[in-house]
């Protein structure tokens, strides 16, 4: 860390007046678990400052909206999320940290977005929300936010094993015209630059994330699609089995890292 960077960090710290949990190089507090480093630790000082304080974090607009939707009655059954799950502060605590889970009924893993929509269709008899819609992002962010700070721990034993294997295979499979796998960047080159961007270890603990580039909150699957397009590969669909399996694998890759939802990234 050069003197300029230190000065910058000091200035940022003073003007924003935040108490950052981790600023010094090499000591990332809870953002680092063993060799695992959250994307937070690769983010610029200014970006971290936005995440450090909830009022500055624009993703909380989605959390607030999710909280409203939680109470909203929708569908033919005349129910809201709150009708069954009551107070999300209690009922949804820890949920975001253990998803995706195996669904006996479907015989495959489902992630948080799919679980919310399944609940809407089966129990509320409402329409499924569209992927990447403001509503689904808000609810997902709201639910996962209830687990903030809790370590990610996804159960991949039993029937989940084979899907985890598929996710792992996907992760290491080279694809696209650039012939790159997820691992080419996020395992082999984490911490190195790819053109103007710093590559992270690619953990999923901060999603749904507010990306400054997107100027809004986006899902993990949107990020997957973006990565796939960047290596000139045809992206899979939102909520596709391939991406859910990948999500399962990623959760174990970053197992133990705290849920940061909603994180802020560049």
């Amino acid at each position: 860390m050069g003197p300029n960077v230190i000065k910058l960090a000091l200035v940022a710290g003073l003007t924003a007046g935040f108490a950052s949990a981790a600023t010094a190089d090499g000591d990332w507090g809870s953002y680092q678990v063993g060799d695992l480093r959250s994307g937070y630790t690769y983010a610029a000082t200014e970006t971290r400052a936005i995440q450090d304080e909830d009022i500055e974090n624009p993703a909380f607009l989605w959390v607030d909206y999710g909280g409203e939707l939680w109470e909203d009655v929708d569908g033919d059954a005349g129910k809201a999320c709150a009708s069954c799950h009551a107070d999300a502060d209690d009922s949804m605590k820890g949920v975001g940290a253990r998803y995706p889970v195996y669904s006996q009924e479907l015989g495959k893993p489902i992630n948080l977005e799919q679980r919310i929509n399944k609940c809407r269709v089966d129990n509320m008899q409402a329409k499924a929300l569209k992927w990447e819609s403001r509503e689904l992002l808000a609810l997902t962010t709201y639910v996962k936010n209830q687990s903030r700070g809790m370590p990610i721990e996804v159960d991949v034993s039993g029937p989940m094993q084979s899907f985890w294997e598929k996710g792992k295979a996907f992760y290491n499979q080279r694809r696209g015209q650039l012939d790159m796998a997820c691992a080419s960047c996020h395992e082999d080159n984490a911490g190195n630059m790819i053109r103007a961007n710093l590559l992270t270890q690619g953990h999923s603990n901060g999603f749904p994330t507010y990306r400054l580039k997107w100027q809004k909150v986006g899902s993990l699957h949107r990020r997957f699609r973006g990565c796939n397009k960047q290596v000139r590969a045809a992206p899979y669909g939102y909520g596709s089995d391939e991406y859910v399996n990948l999500e399962v694998y990623l959760s174990t890759r970053g197992s133990g890292l705290p849920v940061e939802t909603p994180a802020v990234r560049n």
Binding site: G17, I50, P58, Y65
Partner: protein, 109 residues
């Protein structure tokens, strides 16, 4: 566009003469007017919040004119001298004429 909702953070109490920091955030697309619709090629009309202001008991303490370079979901923070108790009223004026407001109480002792 979804309805714009503000978030604000103001200290509940302050001592007279204290300088307090006020933080605000509002959801808004802040469409610059420079982008084109990818399918039709038509310009997407500008729609931004062009004015932000904060009043204490009806008297303006801070205001700002915003321009198209301001990001989506704009965050604004400023400092003010706490001299009297009262109601702080924040307002954001949209290009289309909509007004988004939020009020909060400030107790100065």
């Amino acid at each position: 566009m979804a309805k714009s909702k503000p978030r604000i953070k103001v200290p509940k109490t302050a001592t007279k003469g204290e300088i307090i920091e006020i933080k605000t955030l509002i959801s808004h697309k802040m469409e610059t007017g420079l982008r084109k619709d990818k399918k039709t090629g038509d310009k997407i009309p500008r729609r931004i919040i062009n004015k932000f202001s904060c009043k204490l008991n009806g008297k303006e303490v801070f205001s700002a004119d915003w321009h198209p370079a301001v990001s989506a979901n704009p965050y604004m923070s400023f400092h003010m001298l706490a001299n009297e108790s009262g109601t702080l009223e924040f307002s954001w004026v949209d290009d289309d004429g909509s007004l988004y407001t939020k009020k909060t109480k400030l107790q100065v002792s």
